[in-house]
């Protein structure tokens, strides 16, 4: 493992050093707002970050395994296509924007526009798990992939307004109660028994393991799955007729 302290470098130097360090495991301490860490990385390096990660952490990344002991800011996992980010804190707005593969685990809250424009294709199936709550517009324009919001240790609404607006694929799993008027109109709701959680069980187990949270506590509250009511709901938005 190679260890750097972020305060020893200018922001662009730090990015360059991280890019050029050949070791498979790198730790960065005293991080405070440095942007674009692991941005566009096509490798499977393990990166441990201590501090507050700056905007666009892991943006466009394909493969790195990132653990953050601290909070994230805006654009975490923006358009990420493979790899994993495990974040022991909260994230700001547009986490998982346009994500198309890999996984993002957040222990605390997510800000506005969680996982908007997420998409899936063949073996690419992005997953976001949020431990507490998510702000408004979660899953807006979502085309594929999975968003899971657990509502653990939270005194806020599980999701904010306009959840799933314009969604046309993928699934959102909400644990426990949520304000129904915050859901977009085009969504179906299914309450799932514990046996119907097999699709997401690996992600719940991973969450429980990463953040040392008892899985049985997570499973004792029922989940609701949100999906779009009809396939391609906007196919005729501009043509005016329904086939």
């Amino acid at each position: 493992m190679t260890i750097f302290s972020a305060v020893d470098y200018e922001d662009h130097e730090l990015l360059q050093i991280l890019d050029e360090t050949p070791q498979e495991e790198i730790e960065v301490r005293d991080l405070n707002g440095q942007r674009y860490i692991a941005c566009g990385w096509k490798n499977s390096k393990k990166l441990i970050l201590r501090g507050t990660a700056g905007n666009n952490l892991g943006a466009f990344a394909e493969g790195p395994q990132i653990v953050v002991y601290g909070n994230g800011q805006e654009g975490v996992a923006n358009t990420m296509s493979d790899g994993q980010i495990v974040l022991h804190g909260r994230v700001g707005d547009i986490a998982g924007y346009g994500m198309r593969g890999g996984s993002l685990f957040v222990k605390g809250n997510a800000g506005y526009r969680l996982g908007i424009h997420m998409k899936a294709y063949q073996d690419k199936n992005p997953v976001i798990v949020v431990g507490s709550s998510a702000g408004a517009f979660a899953g807006e324009y979502m085309a594929g992939g999975t968003i899971i919001v657990l509502g653990l240790d939270s005194n806020r609404d599980l999701i904010g307004p306009y959840c799933g607006t314009g969604m046309y694929g993928g699934a959102i799993y909400l644990r426990g109660n949520f304000p129904e008027h915050n859901l977009a109109a085009n969504l179906s709701q299914e309450i799932l028994s514990i046996h119907e959680l097999s699709d997401i069980m690996p992600y719940l187990e991973a969450f429980a393991q990463y953040f040392e949270y008892p899985l049985e506590n997570i499973l004792e509250t029922p989940f609701t799955r949100l999906k779009v009511l009809v396939d391609r709901p906007f196919a005729h938005l501009y043509t005016g007729f329904v086939s």
Binding site: Q73, G92, N109, G111, A136, P161
Partner: protein
């Protein structure tokens, strides 16, 4: 060869930050400079500035006018206007230091002034309205001069450069304020000139803004009907004047004002009073993305547009309230806050000095205007 914007991508957005000591104890500008410098990448060197409250206690009964001039003749011209209308207790250059990265600075003076009694009587105005009109007059009518700030016991220090350089240029380490706000600018649609740097101010108001107001022209036309002159070529100016109109002149509460500028969508408005505000002041709805910090001598409010299209983070530690575009900017000066949170769209973070109940004390209208002839 220097590449122009468009040939090179400058990934950027503005940065804002604010720090309030709720007990009213002053601290120097070092802390707010560290905050805003941490977000260096959000600005591009075409604007930086600070507002500081509590810096002129020995002149707290006077309007502290910070005025920028393009040349000596302009200053003479402006001073003759000021001398006709104000009693000036002290006038002096705002102290600056030479700075390698701050170039083409205008002439910057400050005037501690009070409106002349006979002028107030003649104009039938109370002193804050008289002073606000004087600010509009200087900005609109005296070419080459503009007022950077005009409040009591406060001042704005702004110009073209990175904010941390601007802080050194204006020697902010020599001032003690209980409330600081700061801005790093990345101009989008409007020129990066000294008057276009934030904060924008009027009387005790100051305002820093990240975002852009696409309703600028609508807001401008409405404000013009009430005597506001928008001359600084930047959208943010209308936000400052909107707060002034709604709160100082119309007496709306802060809550009502937030409902006007960041009104919820119609489908989310339930209260009849909010509906009425939405209709009456439809032209003061600020459309477009924004996060702003509005300050007065009593405290600050930080708020986003109704669907939160710009970042905003708040934190508390003992008597300090911090607000900033990025959490990192707060952690650089307070590594272990008691609480950190992101407010939702249209959800204000309000910090007032202990013992103050309102963001703005409305001036009493029992001055010369109310006196019988």
């Amino acid at each position: 060869m220097l590449l122009k914007e468009g040939q090179v991508r400058i990934p950027s957005g503005c940065a804002i930050a604010g720090i309030l000591n709720q007990q009213g104890e002053g601290f120097d500008g070092g802390k707010i400079i560290s905050c805003i410098a941490n977000m260096h990448q959000r600005s591009n060197g075409l604007g930086g500035g600070f507002a500081a409250y509590g810096i002129y206690p020995e002149f707290k009964e006077h309007y502290a006018l910070h005025i920028y001039f393009d040349c000596k003749e302009t200053r003479a011209n402006c001073e003759s206007y000021l001398n006709k209308n104000f009693n000036i207790r002290l006038q002096e250059p705002v102290p600056v230091r030479k700075h390698e990265r701050i170039k083409d600075a205008p002439i910057i003076w400050r005037y501690f002034a009070q409106p002349k009694e006979e002028k107030l009587a003649y104009e039938q105005l109370e002193e804050s309205e008289f002073t606000a009109r004087a600010v509009m007059h200087i900005n609109a009518v005296i070419p080459g001069a503009f007022v950077a700030s005009s409040g009591h016991n406060m001042g704005a220090f702004k110009g073209v450069g990175y904010p941390e350089d601007m802080g050194e240029f204006f020697r902010l380490e020599e001032y003690k304020a209980y409330l600081w706000t700061a801005h790093g600018r990345f101009p989008t649609n409007t020129p990066g000139w000294w008057g276009g740097a934030h904060p924008f101010t009027l009387l005790d108001w100051s305002l820093v803004h990240n975002g852009e107001i696409s309703s600028y022209d609508t807001n401008l036309r409405f404000l013009q009907m009430y005597g506001y002159r928008c001359t600084l070529q930047t959208d943010t100016e209308v936000i400052a004047y909107s707060f002034d109109l709604l709160m100082r002149k119309r007496g709306l509460s802060l809550d009502e004002t937030i409902h006007v500028i960041a009104a919820p969508f119609w489908r989310d408005i339930n209260e009849e009073k909010v509906k009425r505000l939405r209709r009456v002041y439809a032209s003061l709805l600020l459309n477009g993305p924004f996060s702003i910090i509005v300050a007065t001598g009593n405290g600050l409010v930080a708020v986003n547009d109704r669907i939160k299209l710009r970042p905003l983070v708040a934190a508390r530690k003992n008597e300090f309230l911090y607000v900033a575009s990025e959490e990192a900017a707060i952690r650089v000066v307070e590594s272990n806050p008691d609480e950190v949170w992101s407010p939702g769209g249209g959800e204000p973070v309000i910090g007032l000095l202990n013992g103050r109940e309102k963001l703005l004390d409305i001036p009493q209208c029992n001055g010369p205007a109310a006196r019988t002839a």
